[in-house]
Subunit: 250 residues, 2 copies
Amino acid sequence: MSAERDFLDSYDPTAFPPVAVTVDVVALTVRGGVLHVLLVERGGPPFADRWALPGGFVREETLDAAAMRELAEETGLRPGEGPLGALHLEQLATYGDPGRDPRMRVVSVAYLAFAPSLPDPRAGGDAAGAAWVPVDRAVGLAFDHDAILADGLERARAKLEYTPLATAFVPGEFTIAELRAVYAAVWGEEPHAGNFHRKVLSVPGFVESTGETTGRGGERGGPRSRLYRSGDARLLHPALLRPAREDSVR
Amino acid sequence: MSAERDFLDSYDPTAFPPVAVTVDVVALTVRGGVLHVLLVERGGPPFADRWALPGGFVREETLDAAAMRELAEETGLRPGEGPLGALHLEQLATYGDPGRDPRMRVVSVAYLAFAPSLPDPRAGGDAAGAAWVPVDRAVGLAFDHDAILADGLERARAKLEYTPLATAFVPGEFTIAELRAVYAAVWGEEPHAGNFHRKVLSVPGFVESTGETTGRGGERGGPRSRLYRSGDARLLHPALLRPAREDSVR
DNA sequence: TTAATAGTGTCTTTCAGACAATATTAT
DNA sequence: ATAATATTGTCTGAAAGACACTATTAA
C-alpha cells in the first residue's frame, strides 16, 4: 500500500522498532461484601503460572471493543447478553514502559470494568484458569499488573464519590443497604447507615423508587427495604465524599 | 530474536496488522487572560495545511518521556531547563479507532500539559509552523484532535477543582488575582474576588506566603498585592467547586 | 480627587456527620 | 420477647456564596 509506504519511509525505520498494542482489563465486582478482581492464570512464559489481568491483542476494532471482547471471552458471556449488558467499561490509562514485557515493546491500554456479581468465570483463550480474587490477595501479578490494578482501584474509589457508579455493582433493583455495601467494600470503610440513606435519596437523579419492597426483611430481622433502580444522573451533586485521610492530601 | 519469534508465532499474524504508537500533547497556557493551546501546522498530507496537536512516534523511551520530548521540540525548550522545569505533564487518554489515521492503524497516547506563559514556539521537526492558539479558535483540527482537545479541556477544568494545578499556569511567585485569572480563563467564568481570595488562603497547603508584595499596584490603581508560591498540598481539601451547571449533571 | 482593586467582615443557606428515636420484622 | 435493621428526626459545625466595607494606590 503506497500511502503506508510513504508514511513509513518518511521516518528512519530503525528508530521505530515494532510495537504491539494490547488491552488489559481491571474488572471489579463485589461478592459477599468483598471487592474482587477478575484474574487469569498464565499458561506459558513469561510469568508462567502467575496471575495476571485478562487481556490480549487489539484487532481490527476500537480499543473499547477490544476490551469488551477480552472481558467477554474470560467471563464466558457475550456483550449485551445477560448481566454484561449493564456492565460499565471505561478506559483507565496506558502503560508502555520499555521492558514491561520482556519479549518486545508492548503498549497496553488498560480498562476498568464494574459488574454486578457474576458467576465464576470459565477459562478462556490461552489462560490456564480464571477466577474472581479478593483485591487484598491480588498481589504479585505478572508484568506491571500490580500497578495497573492499584491505579484501577484508586479510580474506582474516586468515581464512587462523584458519579452513580456504585449502581453498576448491584442488580437492576436494589436496596439502599446493598448500595451502602458497595461503598463499604470499595472504600474499605462502612458509611454511617442513617446519614448514607438520607444522602443517597437527597442527591437528584442518583436513584429512583420502584414503589416495591423486598419480599422479606434481613436474615436476622428488621423491616423490609424499599427497592430502587438507578436514576438518570451522570454526576452526583453534591458528591458523596470519602472521609479525607489527612496523609493522602499532601 | 527467538523470544520475540515465539511470541509472534503463537498468534495468527494476519489478525494483528502493524500498529504505530504515537503521543499527542494538549499543551495549555494562559496568555492575557485567555486559555491557549499549542498547535502545529501540518506540512504534508494527510490534512496538509491543517492545524494539529503536536506529537510524534514513540521511540525507545517511556510514554512520558516521549510526550516531554515532543513538547520540548515544539517549544524549542529542553526539559528541566527554563520554565519547562515547572511544567506539569500527565497522561490524558488513548485514542485508537481504526481509521482515525487514513494511512495505517495508529494508536495515540494523548498527554495534557500545563505551562506558565511561554514565548512563541519555533517550528520544529516536520511542522510547517507552531503557535499558541486561543482554545475558542482551535477547531477543525486534523485527525480526531478536536475530540482530544475537548477531553483535555474537560480534564483541565475538573482538575482545577480538586488539585492545586492552577499554580502550574503562573510563575513561581504570584498574586491571588493572578491565580483567579487562571480559574477565570479555564472555567470561562470569573470567580467572586472576595470569596475566592478567602477560599484559596483557607485551603491547607494550596499556597504559602512569601512575605513580599508586588512592586506596585494595578494598572488603574489599587493596593499592592501580597505574593505567594505554591504550597505542598497535592489535593485541595475542601475543593474549589465550579458552579454546577444543572444540564451537565444529567 | 477619582476609580480600581486587595483584602476582610458578616450573614444566610446548604450540607456533612454525630447521634437519637421510631417502626418493622426474623428468630 | 429480643435483636436487628430500615428509615426518619434533630442538632452542630463546616463551608459556599452573596454582599458590604475598608484600605491602598495609579492616574
